[in-house]
């Protein structure tokens, strides 16, 4: 059922509520389709806030992936393009090359960026396209119902590895981010999370950095955000965050991987 947000807000104010926080104008009023506790919603908010705070809305074009964020453009109140599965960075390349004055970013899941889109991702980074890539790593294919992702951990169960991921059958968890950091075409590579207030704050700084970098023409800024997919992992959101801390973070350690050299 569609909720009339405006009416709800009015009702709350009428009951004496006080406005202490309002969401960025760069998010529409469409309620997120994401599961409660999922990182996609927070990641969306942070990216949209940064664009508003930098005053670059009129100069920004986003690229949505295929994955749970496929309808990101329903939530982002900015101009955006929906790309075929895995092709977001090629689409972003086409936009940026013909519109070098615009801020361009892609937003992609781990299946999108690190499986079907591996070639596009690697070569976009290798060409040093002047874009930002936001990479939502939840170790699973959320949208299609919890299948194994290239980033799934060893032993992790999913609908296509119901007995757990085995390296000799399914290969190893792929940390494409670390590989990409080795390429001269990447300028800034960092791995973040959004499950605590502290992590949200550092993640937002990283996102801001990624956009600021585009002014410098120095190559790709890649921000990986490790999040839970509580539905795909078959856990409650708090359980999923605990599991993420205990299992995902050791495999995908948070922090900067490649930072611009100070000149």
């Amino acid at each position: 059922m569609a909720v009339d947000i405006e009416q709800y807000k009015k009702d709350l104010l009428a009951q004496g509520a006080e406005v202490v926080f309002s969401k960025t104008k760069n998010l529409t009023d469409t309620p997120f389709s994401y599961c409660g506790g999922c990182g996609h919603g927070v990641a969306h908010r942070l990216i949209m806030e940064v664009i508003e705070e930098m005053g670059i809305t009129a100069d920004t074009i986003g690229v949505a992936p295929v994955g749970c964020a496929v309808i990101a453009y329903e939530f982002w109140n900015i101009d955006a393009v929906q790309a075929a599965h895995g092709r977001a960075t090629a689409v972003a390349t086409g936009i940026k090359r013909t519109n070098p004055e615009k801020f361009v970013f892609s937003y992609q899941g781990d299946g999108d960026l690190a499986a079907i889109g591996t070639a596009e991702t690697v070569h976009t980074c290798n060409r040093g396209e002047n874009i930002a890539i936001f990479f939502i790593n939840n170790g699973i294919y959320g949208m299609t119902g919890g299948q194994m992702a290239p980033t799934s951990l060893i032993g992790m169960r999913s609908s296509t590895a119901p007995y757990g991921r085995q390296h000799d059958v399914h290969g190893y968890p792929l940390s494409l981010t670390n590989l990409l950091a080795e390429l001269p075409g990447t300028y800034y590579v960092t791995r973040q999370a959004v499950e605590t207030a502290a992590h949200v704050r550092t993640c937002k700084k990283a996102i801001r950095q990624a956009f600021e970098n585009q002014k410098l023409n120095k190559g790709v800024s890649l921000v990986e955000i490790v999040t839970n997919c509580n539905s795909g992992w078959k856990m409650t959101a708090p359980q999923a965050n605990k599991w993420m801390k205990e299992n995902m973070f050791p495999q995908y350690p948070l922090g900067d991987i490649k930072v611009p050299k100070t000149e």
Partner: protein, 357 residues
């Protein structure tokens, strides 16, 4: 101003036309027999030396067509080119471009298949080009040049049609037209310009709603409405954009139907036939989609037979048969594997197929 005439290879004509008609970007991946397109562009370096047109060698045809998708989303005149195996890789992107109703130009300088096939010319991509190729109900406007001049002219025409209908346009050429050299009358340089078409993403300003480019409609009712809208557009294109050329069809007893390099062979067959007193004419479809079905149907009762001359096992023949609705026998003659039949060979087989002594 004096006419500017230059001797150009078919592939070079595509590249020069792109620069001159004000194209904003070319994205491609090398493959014979069309690599001269990107090589010519790289040599000319229009980004730095002429118009500011972007030229980029992508890591694959998949990436190239998606770069086109990105550039086209912003209202830029973007194009790509390839040959048959590369065209297969582009099909996903073409379906998305058609679904999102984005204008762009795609060139296929076709070679023989299936599989890796041969680098020699072929017309065996007809089905892929006019019957879909990618998934879903969609069509591209398909232009089939048969001279280097047309190869040149169809670049501008292609972009014009693409933007008029917000739809991908394909130039279906072949290795022979791509590689041959002919005189080309060049057009004047048109400046590049980006307009606000009301749909292209340029960055959302305060005073307007956001724009997004998508081909996703999760609710079936909405998806069906979208399909109906696209189909209505196709009906409009069928009404307005059918192009063909007729040669000596007025008194013809037989009509050859051929496009591209085969139409040049067929033109010679007409001469051979008329020298023997057999009245042969030709209809050359210039648009393969939309197809000149109505005209073929009109001509059918006036003739004794139609022969499609195609460098394939016979693909366009299906559309000719559909067009004439059984009113006249339709046969096919063609060679495969990149072999170009000689006019004499086609003529002998034409007589055999129609039992002409």
């Amino acid at each position: 101003m004096a006419e500017e005439i230059q001797l150009l290879k078919g592939n070079e004509a595509i590249a020069e036309a792109a620069i001159r008609c004000g194209a904003d970007a070319y994205f491609g991946y090398p493959i014979t027999p069309q690599s001269e397109i990107i090589e010519y562009l790289a040599q000319e370096d229009p980004y730095n030396k002429r118009t500011g047109m972007v030229v980029l060698q992508a890591e694959s045809e998949v990436a190239a067509i998606n770069m086109v998708y990105g550039a086209a989303s912003t209202g830029k005149k973007a194009m790509t080119s390839s040959s048959s195996p590369g065209m297969s890789l582009k099909q996903e992107g073409i379906s998305y471009l058609a679904g999102a109703e984005l204008p762009c130009l795609i060139v296929n300088v076709a070679r023989g298949g299936p599989g890796l096939g041969t680098i020699q010319p072929s017309q065996a991509d007809y089905f892929q080009t006019v019957k879909g190729g990618g998934h879903g109900d969609y069509n591209m406007i398909v232009l089939a040049p048969y001279t280097v001049q047309e190869q040149y002219d169809f670049v501008k025409l292609g972009f014009d049609l693409a933007f008029k209908y917000s739809n991908p346009v394909m130039i279906l050429s072949d290795g022979a037209i791509g590689q041959m050299m002919e005189k080309v009358t060049l057009s004047a340089q048109v400046p590049r310009e980006t307009k606000d078409y009301g749909w292209n993403v340029l960055g959302k300003s305060e005073n307007r709603e956001r724009r997004y480019i998508t081909s996703l409609y999760l609710q079936s009712e909405v998806m069906e409405q979208k399909n109906l809208k696209i189909q209505a557009k196709y009906a409009e294109i069928r009404k307005n954009e059918i192009r063909y050329e007729e040669i000596q069809t007025d008194d013809a007893d037989y009509i050859l139907v051929a496009y591209g390099i085969s139409a040049r062979i067929a033109r010679k067959v007409i001469r051979l036939a008329r020298a023997e007193g057999i009245k042969v004419g030709m209809l050359r479809p210039i648009t393969l989609w939309p197809f000149p079905s109505a005209r073929l149907k009109e001509l059918a009762p006036k003739v004794q037979g139609m022969l499609t001359v195609e460098m394939s096992a016979g693909q366009m023949i299906e559309d000719v048969r559909l067009a004439v609705e059984g009113a006249v026998p339709v046969k096919h003659y063609g060679r495969m594997g990149g072999i170009i039949a000689s006019p004499t060979e086609v003529f002998i087989n034409f007589k055999k197929l129609f039992n002409i002594a």
